[in-house]
């Protein structure tokens, strides 16, 4: 029919729009009306409780192992009250991840991969926390005192601070990494890298030798770049 009357299709379309004008609308008027969330919804970022009020999470680490971007972290005490058994911050887990790729590539695996798991005497940390009244708002002072006491910020100390002040570990880590005065490794940890750098020939001799072999006259204007 619409082939015979030009414009009839347009009119029919406009009729449909007018009919829709009077139909009930599909908008959900948030925040007065909230849409139902599916029972199986996996996007809630919270730990669930069962009907007896107990936490369902058993810290079995399966979610952290399965997470493709390694953003899940476990924390807490084990059955013996120790603080660091078999669990690690995602950074070290990332190092374990990287390790297999590194191993397969044939390059040397870095050594200090497990130092974070050394047993640790936490009384100094407890004293610092006590002095600052376990207040998460004074995090910078707490971190400054910890750095002064140990020379760097050990992971176990940060975990203790997180447990006692209630601030998230990721928050403390983020705060500490933002400021330049905090360091996460002991002052002697970069000795290997510095030793290698010290053994590099200065750029002038290297470029001279390169120029001599190429006979291309690389006038090395760069000074010693170390």
């Amino acid at each position: 029919m619409s082939q015979f009357v030009p414009g009839l299709g347009l009119v029919k379309g406009m009729g449909l729009t007018l009919k829709r004008f009077f139909e009930p609308k599909a908008t959900i008027r948030y925040p007065e009306v909230r849409a139902d969330v599916a029972v199986k919804f996996r996007g809630r970022l919270q730990l669930l409780y069962d009907e007896y009020g107990a936490l369902k999470c058993e810290t079995c680490f399966q979610c952290a192992q399965a997470c493709p971007i390694e953003c899940i972290d476990m924390g807490g005490l084990d059955t013996k009250g120790r603080f660091h058994v078999h669990w690690g911050p995602p950074e070290t887990y990332g190092e374990r991840r990287e390790e297999s790729a590194l191993r397969r590539s044939g390059r040397a695996v870095p050594d200090p991969a497990y130092e974070h798991f050394r047993p640790f005497d936490l009384t100094t940390v407890d004293e610092i926390l006590e002095a600052h009244d376990y207040d998460p708002k004074r995090m910078l002072e707490i971190l400054g005192a910890t750095q002064a006491a140990f020379g760097h910020l050990p992971v176990a100390a940060l975990k203790r601070i997180s447990e006692r002040t209630g601030a998230w570990y990721a928050l403390i880590y983020g705060t500490a990494s933002y400021y330049a005065q905090f360091r996460f490794e002991a002052p002697g940890a970069t000795a290997q890298a510095e030793a290698i750098t010290a053994r590099r020939p200065p750029d002038a001799t290297f470029l001279d030798r390169l120029g001599a072999s190429l006979a291309g006259g690389q006038g090395g204007g760069q000074g010693a770049g170390a």
Binding site: L10, G13, M14, L16, T17, L18, R20, F21, E23, K25, A26, T27, R29
Partner: protein, 444 residues
């Protein structure tokens, strides 16, 4: 730190606003009263002597003052109507049902940064929105809103309207060229081609109407459509009406002919580089254009300010002057009585309503009733109120149709658009013209 600056620091923001505005207003008011008292008679004589000029100034001022509110209403209508057709709610939060949204948008557009692109021609860039907006307002001066309510009653009203309306394309081209942007250039050139192509069917389609009416004055065209709705020109010129509406949609750059600002192809067309109030001017001018073409269609084809049926002439038979002393009593008692009587049902039959809430509801209802009765009285007593009511009603019904078109139809391509204008609308307009002229000659 002087006492003045200390006091200034202690004021809140509304306080600072009032502290500046109130003295200025006081000075201005005193000055105005003095001027009126001292020179009032002389001023009145000057006004009476130059009545046409004064009328023009008054009309232009009123139009300029009224165009932002009209544009706000049309913008809100567009957002709300298209949203309701899309099965969603549209503006919902800012005022009751979102009515204050377009006002807030207007204020926001004033607060945005107003910059000129580096290689843009600054003079042309600045004046393009001015040209577009002013042509829209100027062309509205000849529209008869009600019997006696028009800017000017030119003999060539219709010709003036089309002439000024054609100047819009100059503004669009200025904006498109001066922006130093290929998207704007494309938009400007497309708009030039489009508007020029559709001018001809637009003007030709009303020539038949001019033949029938015998005049180009818009006021007289409306007066010839008095009476029942069968007198309206849409009955006598249906093809002309159709061509006029299609060509007017193209003239106003509305969907389906909105490829000058097609935002899925050339971002924003000629207005790409505009921001702040200059873009606001383009935006306003587009919606004022919608209002103006709806108004023109109403004036030409749908009877203007005439009611569709002839109502019997009612006279308000109460003489206010004879009530003298009772007026005071009425003014004192009726509002209170009305509030209480209208609020009482809510208080009595709805147990959750507190007494003062019921009084507020009663007051609001009394106001609605009073305004309604006043409007009824004005409608009966003044013919310009009745005319304005019908004119605005018909115009906004047509604006609704334009918005409905926008919500439904996709866009045409530039070559299809020009082909449609030159191959279909122009011959149709000529056909309309010939048939009308032939019929006119035969009948007379």
């Amino acid at each position: 730190m002087s006492a003045v600056s200390r006091t200034w620091d202690q004021l809140t923001l509304p306080g600072k606003f009032l502290a500046i505005v109130v003295p200025i207003l006081a000075v201005l008011t005193t000055g105005l009263i003095l001027v009126i008292v001292l020179f009032g008679g002389a001023i009145w004589n000057v006004i009476l002597a130059n009545l046409p000029v004064v009328r023009f100034i008054a009309a232009a001022t009123i139009l300029l003052l009224l165009s932002p509110p009209i544009a706000f209403v049309i913008i809100y209508m567009e957002m709300k109507v298209i949203a309701l057709m899309n099965l969603r709610l549209g503006p919902d939060r800012v005022g009751p049902w979102g009515t204050l949204l377009s006002t807030v948008h207007g204020l926001k557009v004033l607060m945005k940064e107003d910059f000129t692109p580096t290689r843009a021609d600054p003079v042309v860039f600045t004046w393009a929105p001015v040209v577009v907006f002013s042509t829209a307002i100027l062309s509205a001066l000849v529209l008869p809103f009600a019997p006696g309510l028009f800017g000017q009653d030119l003999n060539l009203g219709l010709l003036y309207f089309f002439a000024i309306g054609g100047l819009t394309v100059v503004g669009l081209l200025m904006g498109g060229w001066a922006s130093f942007n290929k998207y704007s250039l494309l938009g400007g050139l497309r708009s030039a081609a489009q508007i020029v192509s559709y001018e001809i069917p637009l003007t030709l389609s009303v020539v038949g109407l001019i033949i029938l009416a015998g005049t180009m004055s818009l006021n007289q065209i409306v007066q010839q459509q008095a009476g029942w709705f069968v007198n309206w020109f849409v009955i006598r010129q249906p093809l002309g009406f159709l061509i006029f509406v299609i060509a007017a949609t193209a003239e106003a750059n509305r969907t389906p002919f909105d490829l000058t600002e097609a935002d899925s192809e050339i971002v924003a067309g000629f207005a790409t580089e505009y921001s702040g109030m200059r873009f606001g001017f383009f935006f306003f001018a587009e919606y004022i254009g919608v209002f103006i073409i709806s108004a023109l269609t109403t004036v030409l084809y749908l009877g203007g300010w005439n009611a569709p049926i002839v109502l019997p002439h009612i006279v308000w038979a109460i003489d206010i002057g004879s009530l003298s002393g009772w007026i005071l009593a009425i003014v004192a008692i009726v509002p209170v009585l009305g509030t209480v009587l209208l609020g009482a049902p809510f208080f009595l039959f709805r147990s959750r309503t507190r007494w003062w809430v019921a009084l507020i509801v009663g007051f609001v209802l009394f106001n609605v009733l009073a305004v309604g009765l006043f409007g009824l009285w004005a409608y009966i007593s003044f013919d310009w109120v009745a005319g304005l009511f019908w004119f605005v009603g018909k115009t906004f019904a047509l604006v609704f149709v334009f918005v409905w078109l926008r919500g439904t139809l996709p866009r045409v391509r530039i070559d299809q658009l020009m082909g449609f204008a030159w191959k279909w609308l122009l011959p149709a307009a000529l056909l309309n013209l010939f048939v009308t002229a032939f019929a006119f000659v035969v009948v007379h």
